[in-house]
């Protein structure tokens, strides 16, 4: 069963792709790290999954519309006078909506704050929290969202070790409960220690599979070689005219068996092709 399926997904801004021709599926219950240099399209991919950025080409399908998404904290107005409890309570929007009373559910809200180590902070305005405390409050909101699919965009940037360890424990707990978690991360030690699978992205997918096999020096070197600049004079991408949706990975792998060498920029397809044999990845139906 797949939690997310990408079909030749291309996301971008102003026709310039930020994520280019991504195929494959994220298995339900997977704990997937999204790795790549700045500008690799990690945030864009998460926004694409949640529907914040529309697809230029292809499609992304999720089994559920109830997605918990943690963007980079800078997009929140922290000067607005609401309390920590109010912020966490937003996580109950789906079941409670605009009018249902939360009064009887205060213990549940306090439990969520306790789970992130913010007991006693419930009445503090969010503007008085430190960066780490604020991130903890956002994780309390994620807990209350109780979603089967959780997307985290660089959740530990600027967060100290102790807070990171606490929040990683929460993420492992979600994994244990069978939730699907996708997190954009920069700390490779963290990824190796806690995330069973990894997608290395550098605008196009570089490699996708089990973390141990994917996070290798050659793969990372290729990811780093990404050219960040847009080419204003770039030609219209002809990718779609040559291969159908999702078949490209399989055909590329098949070509490989015949000993063909691709040097036209399609080597990325090998990395996440079914020939690697990771259940749940590649173009499996």
């Amino acid at each position: 069963m797949s939690a997310i399926r990408f079909r030749g997904l291309t996301l971008g801004y102003d026709r310039h792709p930020a994520v280019h021709h991504l195929d494959g599926t994220v298995a339900s219950g997977d704990l997937l790290a999204l790795v790549g240099p700045n500008g690799a399209g990690k945030s864009t991919l998460l926004k694409g999954i949640v529907g914040e950025v529309g697809a230029l080409d292809g499609a992304v399908e999720t089994g559920t519309k109830a997605i918990a998404y943690l963007p980079q904290a800078a997009e929140i107005d922290r000067s607005f006078p609401v309390s920590v409890l109010d912020l966490a309570a937003m996580g109950l929007w789906r079941p409670f909506g605009a009018w249902a009373s939360l009064k009887r559910h205060r213990p549940r809200l306090l439990d969520a704050l306790a789970a992130v180590g913010l007991s006693g902070f419930e009445d503090r305005p969010i503007g008085t929290l430190s960066g780490g405390q604020f991130q903890r409050a956002l994780f309390a909101r994620l807990i209350l969202q109780d979603a089967r699919l959780i997307l985290l965009d660089e959740p530990f940037t600027g967060i100290d070790e102790r807070t990171t360890a606490d929040l990683l424990a929460l993420i492992r707990g979600w994994h244990g409960e069978g939730r699907t978690v996708v997190a954009a991360l920069h700390d490779l030690h963290q990824v190796r220690a806690h995330f069973p699978s990894t997608l290395v992205l550098a605008r196009r997918p570089i490699a996708w599979g089990s973390t141990a096999e994917v996070l290798t020096p050659p793969v990372l070197a290729r990811a780093l070689a990404l050219s960040e600049a847009w080419d204003e004079a770039a030609a219209i991408c002809r990718h779609g005219t040559r291969a159908g949706t999702g078949d490209e990975a399989a055909s590329a792998a098949a070509h490989d068996h015949h000993g063909h060498r691709h040097d036209d920029g399609h080597d990325h397809a090998h990395a996440h092709s079914p020939s690697h044999g990771h259940a749940g990845h590649g173009a499996a139906p």
């Binding site: 949640v50 997009e75 607005f80 006078p81 309390s83 109010d86």
Partner: protein, 295 residues
């Protein structure tokens, strides 16, 4: 001064003259509905957006004036249509193009304002233009009072209904988009409330000054209260105080001091006082350096 003298000064005008009572009722109704919207505008850093919106109303009111003369229903309807059209058009451009909301709103309100002045000057004299711009709080008829009361009721009811999504939309619009589709409609409904209140305020205070009673009490309240449950009632109280003060000052000063500006000036004075002595970040409290705490 004796108690009786004080009563003559403060209550006398309202006891004696029906037009003063009408003006008071109209301003108090406006004081219940406009300042809470101002609080949200201020907190969203959209304070100047209501100013732009008040200009946008002008051509509609002017069109109503051209068609039917100084008629309340025609000018109100015209103002509503023009204001809502500008709000919706600006929202559409913001969502569909690269422009941010402030820029697209500025573009539309400038078009609208110029169009309004153009329309008014096609017919009517300077006095008519002054009436549209500055209102006639001392000439509120029954229809105008019913309109102001209705607007206040509608606004408070709508705010109660929209309160939770509106707060979420202010703090974290991206979150609201990720969990549902109410963000856009809530924002549009909020802008519609702003337009409706400006149109209502324009009966009493005129298009330019209606913004004053919406924003000044809200901004002054920031020096007295920290959260929404404090800001909203405090802003209402300040607005009521400004209304009463402005009416009395303009009455006792004689007809020469126009009432609309007097009310807004009173609100402005309350803002300045709040800024000086308000306990939440007021100037005097900043000057007095209190000993810091242990933890």
């Amino acid at each position: 001064m004796t108690l009786a003298g004080l009563s003559d000064l403060l209550v006398g005008p309202f006891v004696e003259f029906g037009f003063m009572r009408r003006a008071l009722a109209g301003c108090l109704a406006l004081s219940l509905s406009a300042p809470p919207l101002g609080v949200f505008l201020m907190l969203r850093r959209m304070s100047l957006m209501s100013e732009a919106m008040s200009h946008a109303i002008l051509p509609g009111a002017a069109a109503g004036f051209l068609v039917a003369g100084l008629s309340l229903p025609a000018m109100t309807l015209g103002g509503l249509i023009a204001g809502l059209a500008v709000a919706l058009a600006a929202g559409f451009v913001t969502r569909s193009t690269v422009l941010k909301e402030d820029a697209s709103l500025a573009a539309f309100y400038l078009i609208s304002l110029a169009g309004g002045v153009f329309l008014v000057s096609l017919r009517g004299s300077q006095i008519d233009l002054l009436h549209i711009l500055f209102g006639t709080v001392l000439a509120l008829d029954d229809d105008a009072l019913v309109l102001l009361g209705g607007i206040a009721s509608l606004t408070l009811a709508a705010l109660a209904v929209l309160y939770r999504p509106l707060v979420i939309e202010c703090v974290d619009p991206l979150f609201l988009r990720s969990v549902g589709r109410v963000g856009g409609p809530v924002h549009s409904a909020f802008l519609a409330l702003v337009v409706i209140n400006l149109v209502g305020g324009f009966q009493a205070l005129g298009t330019l000054l209606a913004v004053g009673l919406m924003l000044l009490p809200a901004i002054a309240a920031r020096f007295w209260a920290a959260d929404l449950s404090g800001l909203i009632p405090v802003s209402m109280l300040i607005s009521m105080l400004a209304s009463v003060t402005g009416l009395l000052v303009s009455y006792h000063a004689g007809i020469r001091l126009p009432t609309g500006p007097a009310i807004v000036l009173a609100a402005g004075a309350l803002y300045l006082v709040s800024m000086l002595i308000g306990p939440r970040g007021g100037l005097l409290h900043r000057l007095v350096r209190r000993r810091h705490l242990e933890a």
